[in-house]
């Protein structure tokens, strides 16, 4: 499941989180006063043979979708971000075993920059909206039939 967007509330221990403010300086903020809103990861234009794997859709459905795409295309690209990396690998390996070795895999990893917005609880007094960036890992697996 997607991680719940935790309104940083009392359940979070009181260790101050370190923020990279837009100006580049680091600030220490009391987490109680802010609401954390995660923005969506950057979305690149999608080809027909791109599959973005997520953790909400049923695993079997995603596998079936890839299988169907492989009937029409010679290669497909499976992308997974963060928690979904595991699943992306799993899907690729399942595809390979079910094809009895006809398919080949080529995996690439990358880092994706994600943006979080911190909205102050009391917007009239606190200064600006803060934005912080963090990195997350991603995997891109090319599943293809090798040229004869």
């Amino acid at each position: 499941m997607a991680e719940p967007r935790s309104p940083v509330s009392a359940s979070v221990p009181h260790n101050p989180i370190v923020l990279a403010a837009p100006e580049g300086s680091t600030l220490e903020m009391d987490p109680i006063e802010f609401t954390l809103r995660k923005r969506l990861p950057r979305k690149l234009p999608k080809r027909r043979n791109d599959v973005y794997v997520n953790m909400k859709t049923d695993f079997k459905a995603q596998l079936a979708r890839c299988q169907k795409l492989l009937d029409a295309h010679r290669e497909i690209c499976i992308h997974g971000l963060g928690l979904a990396i595991n699943r992306a690998i799993n899907i690729a390996l399942q595809l390979q075993t079910s094809s009895q070795g006809a398919l080949q895999l080529a995996a690439n990893t990358s880092t994706v920059e994600l943006i979080d917005d911190l909205e102050p609880e009391d917007p009239d007094e606190a200064g600006e909206h803060l934005t912080r960036t963090r990195n997350n890992s991603a995997i891109h697996i090319k599943v293809f039939y090798p040229n004869p």
Partner: protein, 817 residues
Amino acid sequence: MPGAKERMREKKMKNQPRSVQYSSRGQGSQASGWVRGHQAEGHRYSQDLPKHITASFFAGARAAEVSVMLKAVSKPTGSCQVFTALPKHMRRRAMSHNTHRLPLRLRDAALRLAERSQRGPEKPPQAKSRSRRARRRHTHLLLEFNRRQRRSRWLETHIWHAKRFHMQNSWSYRLPHTPTAKSYRASYRAMDTHTLLQDLSYFCCLELQGPEEQILRALSQLTSKQTGPTFAASVCLSGARVGRLLLYRAGQYPHGALGPVEFLWRPRAPECTHRQLWIWIHPALKQDVLPELQAVCQCCESVCEVSASSSAAAVDELRNRKRKCTADAAELPAKRLLGDGTRAVGDPVRWESADTHITISDLTMEIVRFRLIGPLAHLVLTDTLHAANEEALRGVCVDADLHQQQRDVFTQLRGVCSTAELPAGCVLGLTVSDPRLTLPQRRGKTVPDLQHISTESSHARDLTLRGVPAHCSQSALWDTSVRDHVTDSRLSEQELNRVRSDVLVPGSAVCVSGVCAVPLLLLHQPGRVCGQERLRWGSGWDLLLPKGWAMAFWVPLVYRGVRVGGLHMSVKHAQFMAQPHFPHDYPDCPAGERCQSEQEAELLEKFKRRPPSKRTNYVKHGCVAPFRCPWQQLVDEWAELVELGGETQSRAGPVQFTVLRSVSVLRQLSAWCSSASAVTPAAAAALHQEQQGALLWVRLRLLGKGRPELHAAVCVPTTSDLQQLTDGQSSGPQEPRHPDPQPESEGSRSVVSHCSRRTLGWVQQGDFSLSSGRGEALAFISLSGLLQMMIQHQRSLVLLRNPSSLQYRYAHVYIDS
């Protein structure tokens, strides 16, 4: 139906002799006329026959009767066909078409009748109208259009819409509702993957001018910090962001809600405390908000502008139309109506106050507003708009440096992949050249360009991280004089076409010297911000233009492959974002109440249009309020129920219901809903005590089958229902059929415990959700009821039942905060 019967009789008796009565004149004792039918008490007809008859008088009367009867016999009644003279067994199909199927004696009459029906009914001679050519002449058309706008205002894109949409009258505007083409799914897809365009020019803009502290002090009475950011939120105050909030009557929070508004501050000018603020409101809200604003700003003196605006002049002309039409060729040419056409000449549009130095102006219809919804909205804009070159800027008084910076930001937008990536609510001012000059030859579709995305990625990263710099949100659109100048200096279509015809290569870009640049504002719409699912869905850009320029921007936007939506799509957009839609989903606001009454009348009329045997029997279905939801009664009954449940706390009496909008409470409830076991009775009781009479806006997702409808009941499941669900046996329990007519014992109909399951609330918007692939509903439920249910079952599961069905369906409750 006595009316219908009478009409039938009237039709039947149309050619019958009317004088079939004994005239009593000259015969003395004959008092009554004929009596129809057999008389029960043995009344005899022949009891008092006249003693003598005057022969000439009698014969005359009979002769008149005979002549009337002969006339009636010779002429068929009304639309009666000839073959109705035949008995039923002799009639044949298509007798009215083929006269040879009729017996010979009737053929002639039938032939005559057929000829007459081919000629059509004889119309009363009409006053000779002008020829079509004359009627379609430009000036005459304009006059005609202006006349038709007197009752309901038209948007500038009206003609375009009227050709493609079903139009309806709402809030004294003539607005597009749904396209005539089948396009519901296509419009959803456009919102999801490309862009949907809407004309929101009917939104009213109120302008406040004055010292910053005074404005803030006045407006702070209308808002509450508990519902989120106010007018004074620092990001909004600098003018870099658009703000959204809910207005309340002065100092009455949490009661007396007025409605949602959107506001935008003009960026500060150096060394000046004088500020300008635009408040955008829905037209249904204007009659409530404007007096309230005048009260808090103490602006009661209306300022009559001597410099007659163009709209006033146009109206003036409209008034004198008749006289002018009859006058000779010396008449002035008819003018296109711009701005608010229904406003009377003397109506004030400005109010100012001597104490607070605040001026309120009504800018209704002065500014055109388009909304683009969808992930590619920014690409459509960058394709359509081109920043003006230096020489065109002179008329608009824009700083060249600022223009350059704004232009840079605008080009950086090309590197952004989706509108949702930008920070919520950022504002960009821009000055562009006329988009008609770069109109493509044929309609295409904007697609993202990978090359742009890769080259501009570093700039785009800055843009997404920091947003548009605050000073770039300045625009000349804020100045009335510039707006008027730009409106007046628009190149007419006729001139533009003349220039186009002179271009050597057809379809190449047209360059016209000395054209005016157009200042505009781009406001980012954040889309769905609350909740955890489909975040930022439905984000887009709003485009603000000076009046008169709507069509000049509309057609180029449409040529970029966007789909156009009407009012129906606005409702659906709000529904997919799980947001309440104004005015329908604000039952505690005066505008919402009015809307509910209208809806009730409409639904009732629709219900009564059906024959009684085909109507849904709401009594049998146990549906208490199929047309209007009794929120107050619901809240009161739940309060009583909770009191009976144990806690004997004294209550002050019935409380006016409110909609819960406090952010902190909503967040708490949202957490409880995702893990209902966390609710403790003590905390729930405290919350109940604190928020008496509160309604809660919730999103319901069905677990299995079912498509919720308007006013479907949200009910509390029993323990056995939940047990059945865990066993996986059923898709929902059934409501036993209620007896009709109701037994006398149920005199006072309880809203909550009318059915076998207690009612929590009702659905406001419900449909099959194209995004989640199952039924989804947005409903108001009683807070006390929800808390009690969660304590009882430790789960946030409810039952949903449509008003026309006995089948309950399971649904999960989500509270987005």
